[in-house]
């Protein structure tokens, strides 16, 4: 089971159209990625809430099809 970086980016952007998304492949196995997601939608939200928004965008693939996604999230600097 694996995912392509472009698919991860597509899913996140579908849920967060105004987000900037950077995906790095950590292991080349389609299972271990790092992602940095910057979106105004995160403003005022805790880290847990921000990550939950991204996990929701991935529609249940997190922890299953996608084993590891090292997430960094933030709202854009004003």
């Amino acid at each position: 089971m694996a995912m392509q970086a472009a698919e991860i980016e597509r899913l996140i952007k579908a849920a967060l159209p105004d987000a900037s998304v950077e995906i790095r492949d950590l292991a080349g196995d389609g299972d271990h990625y790092a992602a940095t997601v910057i979106s105004p939608a995160f403003r005022g939200k805790s880290r847990v809430q921000q990550h939950q928004i991204v996990y929701k965008a991935l529609q249940g693939r997190m922890g299953g099809e996608l084993h590891a996604l090292a997430l960094t999230t933030a709202a854009p600097q004003d």
């Binding site: 880290r47 939950q52 249940g60 922890g63 960094t72």
Partner: protein
């Protein structure tokens, strides 16, 4: 509430620091779980742990409990703090140590990675 949910709820509420992980602190079976154990050990924080690999119902139940799809999961005073990414980020910024201190939990080591 299912059996698994009540076991999880009891563990979360009766331990100041509760870590749901893959494996045990002595023998972690996942790099991410191992990282959180190392951080808690570095801070000298006493914690209780539960090996989700030992019980499939707990492994699935914990994901529903916190609406969080991955393991490990760290709870402090009954509140979900985060998985490996968030715990490491909080540790590196010193936020984890202050969060623990504010919760009345003694850390016997320095607050931040030097």
């Amino acid at each position: 509430m299912t059996d698994a949910q009540s076991v999880i709820d009891k563990a979360v509420k009766s331990n100041d620091v509760m870590l749901f992980m893959k494996g045990t602190p002595q023998f972690p079976q996942c790099g991410f779980s191992s990282q959180v154990v190392q951080i808690l050990d570095y801070l000298g924080v006493p914690f209780e742990s539960m090996n989700v690999l030992a019980d499939a119902d707990i492994r699935q139940g914990i994901k529903e409990y916190a609406n969080w799809p991955t393991i490990p999961q760290l709870y402090i005073k009954g509140e979900f703090v985060g998985g490996c990414d968030i715990v490491r980020e909080m540790f590196q910024s010193g936020e984890l140590a202050s969060h623990l201190t504010e919760a009345g939990i003694v850390c016997s080591q320095p607050a931040k990675a030097s």
